[in-house]
């Protein structure tokens, strides 16, 4: 970098290299590139020489590159990215590492999106910043006032009625370095969905109920059978899942799942409690009606059976 060179500081704008100076920083002698902002000459920045590539300082785009940018701006645009998180992150990356075409991509992408719906505040600011950076780089590159550069940009983006451009194929955008993907923290949800879909939720509740009721021994045979049937049913999926996963050798996750499943049964049991209340309430009128009727007629056996279950349970709890 020589004095007088014009460079683009990512996300900041165009700077002119003033010179290279030596400075003592923390007892270490370092050489710094001193730069002056083109927009605001009072602002100067000193960057350690060895950090120049890491910061992303680059030369102002040439006339040829700028022509490509205009052809890109005037070209038909694909569907804009609709996931705002991905879009915002990609746009931030493009502004830093995408070069002048990356900045143009941000402007065009957000402009296209603004035609579909108004931009949220953050993206509106990002759009304005990107436009500012693009306009000033074009102005410096083409040697025209910034307002005129903006007119050129908008002439390409929003051509007047009846104007058609003879466009060349736009340059290929710079590929951004891929970010590491985050691990999905949704293992619990998956378990949840699977169990509820299979209807195991209900069985587990029934199993617990059955387990609580079994020692009392007052239950009718049918309920006892249900409880017995449900109890191994509840254990089986956990055991099977644990066994299968252990066989597959998935490691820690596999070992953690049975524990999670076991932990889950507790809240489910808690959930099951209000569920039990509902049938009990529903059973009350059902039980009362036959009693009233029983004064007149002898009560049918079937009608008294549902009333017996909650009664037996309450008695068990009291004991």
């Amino acid at each position: 970098m020589k004095p007088g060179d014009r460079v683009v500081y990512p996300n900041q704008g165009v700077y002119r290299v003033v010179g290279v100076v030596e400075m003592d920083i923390g007892g270490k002698r370092q050489s710094f590139v001193r730069m002056q902002s083109e927009e605001n000459p009072a602002a100067t920045v000193s960057v350690p020489r060895e950090k120049v590539p890491a910061i992303g300082l680059r030369r102002v785009a040439t006339g040829e590159q700028m022509e490509g940018v205009f052809h890109y701006l005037a070209a038909q645009f694909d569907d804009p990215e609709l996931d705002w998180k991905v879009r915002h992150r990609d746009n931030a990356d493009r502004l830093i590492a995408g070069g002048v075409l990356g900045v143009a991509e941000v402007v065009k992408g957000l402009h296209s999106l603004s035609r579909i719906r108004p931009l949220p505040t953050k993206e509106r600011e990002q759009y304005d910043n990107a436009r500012h950076l693009l306009v000033h780089e074009i102005a410096v590159s083409l040697g025209v006032p910034a307002v005129l550069a903006e007119d050129y940009v908008d002439y390409a983006l929003m051509p007047p009625a009846g104007v058609k451009f003879d466009l060349k194929p736009p340059p290929t955008p710079v590929l951004l370095p891929s970010r590491p993907k985050k691990r999905r923290p949704v293992a619990e949800d998956e378990d949840d969905l699977g169990l509820s879909d299979l209807g195991i939720d209900i069985d587990l509740a029934g199993a617990l109920e059955g387990a609580a009721a079994l020692p009392e021994g007052d239950l009718p045979a049918a309920e006892g059978e249900e409880g017995e049937a449900a109890t191994p049913g509840a254990e089986a999926p956990a055991a099977e899942a644990g066994g299968d996963e252990a066989d597959e050798g998935e490691g820690d996750d596999a070992a953690a799942r049975p524990a999670k499943a076991a932990a889950k049964t507790q809240p489910k049991a808690a959930k099951a409690a209000p569920k039990e209340k509902a049938p009990a309430k529903a059973a009350k009128p059902a039980a009362k009606k036959p009693e009233k009727k029983a004064e007149k007629k002898p009560a049918p056996k079937k009608a008294t059976k549902p009333a017996a279950k909650p009664a037996a349970k309450r008695g068990g709890k009291k004991k």
């Binding site: 436009r131 005129l148 929003m158 051509p159 104007v163 451009f165």
Partner: protein, 181 residues
């Protein structure tokens, strides 16, 4: 303060409407600073006036720091050609500059009916707000209802609004608040 300079005579009622609208748009005092003549050699071979040159050579007006001067002319303005052609010019101003110029040549004809005069006045005010907005560092806006939307856009309504959108208004207010005077 905004000082309006007319390079051709303008109807006083039109001027009164313009000053009132500019005051409402920016919250800054606005006055007519008188008539001046268009620079003699401003006109090009094609009969149009180079907007950039006009802004440089425009007759000076006594003003304070942070004042903005708006020149109004009826001569058609031109701009240098860009990579994709010459954008139509309704006005011109530098970002953060002191001067702005607008032309009435592209406005709809100012007829004799009240409706057509109203339309003309509103469009003149919109272009004035647009040009002065650039002097307060406002960029073009994608919102077609905002005065900072490009004047040639196909999305622009037939009778466009002469107001700034919330974003542009807040930005201009911040700039005006930061002004030294």
């Amino acid at each position: 303060m905004i000082r309006i300079v007319t390079l051709e005579r303008l109807d006083p009622t039109d001027l009164a409407f313009l000053t009132g609208t500019l005051y409402r748009a920016f919250g800054v005092g606005t006055e007519h600073a008188g008539d001046r003549h268009l620079p003699a050699d401003a006109e090009g071979k094609d009969g149009r006036v180079d907007a950039i040159r006009l802004l440089k050579d425009a007759p000076p007006v006594r003003s304070l720091p942070d004042d903005k001067v708006l020149y109004i002319t009826s001569a058609p303005l031109s701009l240098p050609k860009g990579p994709l052609g010459e954008p139509p010019c309704w006005g011109f101003a530098e970002f953060g500059g002191e001067r702005a110029v607008i032309s009435t040549s592209r406005l709809p004809a100012r007829g004799v009916t009240e409706a057509s005069i109203e339309t003309w006045r509103k469009r003149l005010a919109r272009e004035a707000i647009h040009a002065l907005g650039h002097t307060w560092d406002l960029h073009h806006c994608y919102d077609a209802r905002c005065a900072m939307h490009p004047s040639w856009s196909q999305g622009l309504a037939e009778r466009p609004e002469m107001e700034l959108c919330t974003f542009c208004r807040e930005k201009s207010e911040r700039k005006i608040r930061l002004a030294k005077t």
